[in-house]
Amino acid sequence: MPKTAIKLNVNGKAEDLLVEPRELLIYVLREKLNLTGPHVGCETSHCGACTVEIDGKSVKSCTMFAVQADGAEITTIEGLSTPDNLHVLQRMFREHHGLQCGYCTPGMIMRAHRLLQENPNPTEEDVRFGIAGNLCRCTGYQNIVKSILAAAAEINAAQEAAE
């Protein structure tokens, strides 16, 4: 099958790629761009471990062909921060024990990131409903919800201080 040329902007960097139409975005990110933050979990659109941000939407990258993303701006967990300067969501997940094995965490944080963009003051229920597309088999979600609420509070406090 002939390959198709696509252009992606991934974590602020322009990428020109040749892909087969049947290549799923998750494999292009992981195997062609070496971005192994997005994980392959269930591969059946349920678990959300592969969640990335595409043009301002949270998307399960195992359920999208890379050709569909031609021209898109994509952010993966690698684009959120640097190892020396973690994103507030990452710090709060660490502080509040929002992870155990860590497999779901990149998808969970990318989803939480978009959720807080759209709803900067979520209730606990908003958070639980907002991360309903991400499964965690370790934590029972309690500490994940705490981490996201704590991140929201810190972001809002920082904004108030700035004003």
């Binding site: 659109s45 998307v59 597309g133």
Partner: protein, 284 residues
């Protein structure tokens, strides 16, 4: 999981998309949000040689409200329905139903057109479209034609859409009065064990008009004329709700699957239908 190889097409207008369907016949399928089709391709339960992505076709993402007529393009996503202020005012049942579909990530991608055109009895929008008496627009080689939602579904995955046609949009009248979309599911993201869409208007303490439809309780969505007739003119008291529920249950034909045996589904359906009627009435 890697799907079988296929050729990807991204036409920029509907004529080109229809042309591709003509050329490739049943080897081709159109792609909207892909959240039903791509999982089936990954499981190799759908073998498609030509995938025609509709995302570049202008106009399919529009939501237009002209007076009391609402038009929604096929590529409008569930997330678009949830966040659209005009729809929240003119047909709030859409938001209520869309919030009960799948999960946030799927709602960003999943489209109204895909949901109604796929013909999956588990999808929620077809049942809702029965309640709304919506009309679907199909573009084909000889131009557009309209098909009523109530005439569209023939059996599971079989619809009035011909292979060389594309469902481009839906339209229906703004709703007045009370509404409810009730859905029982095993977990968030699941299809309904039973779901019901109800619209009711009130006049002088009595039901002036009613529409009752159901999801995943037969191999097509079910609109129950008898359930609506049982409510008309009543004060929507417990007896009227019981009569309407009995009438609705007579119109369904659930089958046993991993969501339970037939008896259980009928039990759940009865509760969901009664709740939907009561809640719609409380808002009427």
């Amino acid at each position: 999981m890697i799907p079988a190889a296929f050729e990807y097409h991204r036409p920029s207008d509907i004529e080109a998309a229809l042309g591709l369907l003509q050329t490739h016949g049943d080897e081709a399928r159109v792609l909207a949000g892909g959240h039903s089709l791509i999982p089936m391709m990954k499981l190799r339960m759908a073998a498609i040689e030509h995938l025609i992505d509709l995302r570049d076709i202008a106009g399919l993402r529009d939501i237009r409200i002209d007076g009391t007529t609402i038009r929604i393009g096929a590529m409008v996503t569930q997330a678009d329905l949830i966040t659209h202020d005009g729809l929240a005012r003119t047909a709030p049942i859409l938001r209520e139903a869309a919030l009960q579909i799948a999960d946030p990530q799927v709602r960003y991608m999943g489209t109204v057109g895909g949901n109604v055109a796929n013909g999956d009895p588990g999808n929620d929008m077809p049942g809702l479209m029965q309640a709304l008496d919506a009309v679907f627009t199909l573009a084909g080689p000889d131009g557009d034609r309209d098909v009523a939602a109530r005439d569209f579904y023939e059996s599971a995955y079989m619809t009035a859409r011909e292979d060389d046609e594309i469902l481009t949009g839906i339209r229906f009248d703004a709703t007045a009065g009370g509404y409810a979309y009730e859905k029982q599911k095993r977990k968030i993201g699941d299809y309904a064990t039973a779901a019901a869409a109800v619209l009711i208007t009130r006049e002088g303490g009595c039901v002036k008009s009613a529409s009752v439809a159901m999801t995943n309780l037969a191999d097509t969505p079910i609109w129950s004329r008898a359930a609506a007739e049982a409510l008309l003119g009543s004060s929507c008291d417990a007896d009227a709700i019981r009569a309407a529920t009995t009438a609705a249950l007579a119109d369904i034909d659930p089958t046993e699957d991993n969501r339970g045996p037939v008896e259980f589904k009928r039990h759940v359906a009865g509760i969901i239908i009664s709740r939907a009627i009561a809640r719609a009435w409380s808002r009427a």
